[in-house]
Symmetry: C2
Subunit: 325 residues, 2 copies
């Protein structure tokens, strides 16, 4: 964790995370992994506990005009559990802390909770407690506890590894853009798929546990492939090269269709769109599971790099900053 | 958990909690205790995990004009850990999810986090992860994980038990009233003590673990003694009688001094003021620890009852509803 430096007047997300991590640089008995990965890892007897929290806030992460309350409940829960998937952990239980605005009705709470309960069943991660409080906007904070014998981290990537993509990227961003542009009424297959990716993402729990003992490093794509691949590079102190040629082959046809309709480049949606909760993983070439697609490689060096089809390359940048929005 | 009944248009806190509990009535492998107590209890191998979350929201639970950011961090953390104290659990680790308003500076984040870190050290409960998100007001959500061999619950009170108070009640409410009335500038001992009770409450962790094997039921007083004693009565299906004569003897002199100054009745502050994080406990008369004061008794019957010095009695009611405020 980097230290020092002046605190800027205007706090962006990465600076907030840096200050937060510095304040709590937790070391102590039983703490195997503190702040800085997808989840914390605690040892307890023979068990390893994986512990993480995620918040989704109205007007920051969603607008109630675009997303049904059931979907807000469902996707906020999956987003939190996705961090367990990236660690190769199995869910044990979750807590839900809700801030509810004035005027939020009992019926609305039931719809929100129904979406959470549906996601909890799908993830086999029961909601065992929580908190309800009054707040100016709807805010859903989900804490998740899981177990993992050998947790996957962001920091195990090695030069020579392949970079794998598991699940799709860009579709949730296309779905959001359709909501924003009023194009969400269409009923063609590509639209339905993108709206579903945005409204009903799925934490890739089974994929995550299947990667234990195979993958060297893993992260879930919550803030965009470019940003999250860069996080593996930083945590692993190696260079992560994403290859345009390989990523282009891995994009679903629906993304190409919708990008054309939205006037966006499909690779931009794939690189900077978050909230698909795909996994980015590194591992040895011979070990790649059938459900993983190769999209790049690890090398000696630093940082995330984008390698264009013409052979040129540039630093990977971008991703979605919920603070700047 | 009660079921049925129409959902009212206007959602109050108890109705929100009821709907929440109904949506997630968690049963499943390893869940020993779900929604409805101070914390959930999970069995994992030989261990019992105690898992809870608490949120403090600006303008609902605090005003930044009255409370320093360090204090907001400190008291929100202690409030969450207090649920572990009430279960007789030992803290393992915590997560902190912060919603930060636009314009919140890096320096302000450092001050908030410094208060959280100080409380985490005091509770030996390291903050191992978290989340930062943009929100319209400051909101601090703290998830806490602990262990307990034999957790104390709300549901073990029996007719014939004494009701014990551990720690003080009413002082935090007096401190809040001093802030609200502009009386917080005074430097006399009573004022200092009440302001400290409000700004720097302490989760009674050592008292909680000392009660394991001694107490029959326990709860922490977060919403006022009247309301929380009633919760023990409901969970234990017995009557909890608080005795005016006994409670009056247990009040600290500082509360009498300040109540007179504020034009409030000390017993009202004690019964309805929350956020002291005292413990209300039941147990057999011969087992009462030296640090516990007797304030009532359990009987066959239902509900919380207030027994006046003149022998009359009435149902206990009151407490602070953060939804109604």
């Amino acid at each position: 964790m980097s230290r020092g430096g002046r605190v800027p007047r205007r706090l962006d997300e990465s600076e907030a995370v840096r200050l937060f991590a510095r304040a709590f640089s937790a070391r102590g008995r039983g703490i195997e992994l503190g702040i800085g990965d997808d989840a914390a890892v605690l040892s307890l007897g023979r068990e390893r506990l994986v512990f993480t929290v995620d918040a989704q806030v109205e007007k920051t992460h969603f607008e109630r005009a675009w997303v049904a309350l059931e979907d807000i409940g469902f996707r906020s829960f999956q987003a939190a559990v996705s961090d367990l998937a990236a660690m190769g952990a199995r869910p044990l239980a979750a807590l839900s802390a809700l801030n509810l605005p004035r005027g939020f009705s009992g019926r609305e709470l039931e719809r929100l909770a129904a979406g959470q309960a549906e996601a909890a069943r799908a993830c086999r991660c029961p909601i065992v407690g929580g908190n309800v409080a009054r707040g100016p906007v709807l805010s859903v904070t989900t804490s998740v506890l899981g177990t993992a014998r050998r947790p996957l981290t962001r920091s195990g990537a090695r030069p020579g590894d392949e970079v794998w993509l598991i699940g799709d990227v860009g579709l949730a961003a296309a779905g959001l853009a359709l909501f924003q542009s009023g194009g969400a009424q269409a009923r063609d297959r590509a639209t339905v798929r993108a709206l579903s990716a945005f409204r009903r993402p799925r934490a890739l729990l089974a994929r995550g546990t299947a990667l234990v003992g195979v993958a060297h490093a893993a992260i879930d794509v919550s803030d965009g492939l470019a940003l999250d691949a860069g996080r593996i590079a930083r945590a692993s102190a190696c260079r992560v090269v994403l290859e345009e040629r390989a990523l282009a082959r891995a994009l679903p046809a629906a993304l190409l269709t919708l990008a054309a309709r939205l006037g966006r480049r499909p690779l931009d949606l794939a690189l900077t769109g978050g909230e698909d909760y795909a996994l980015v993983v590194t591992g040895a070439a011979g070990q790649r599971p059938r459900f993983a697609r190769r999209i790049g490689r690890c090398e000696k060096g630093r940082g995330g790099v984008w390698e264009c089809t013409d052979g040129s390359s540039r630093p990977l940048a971008g991703g979605f900053d919920h603070f700047a929005s």
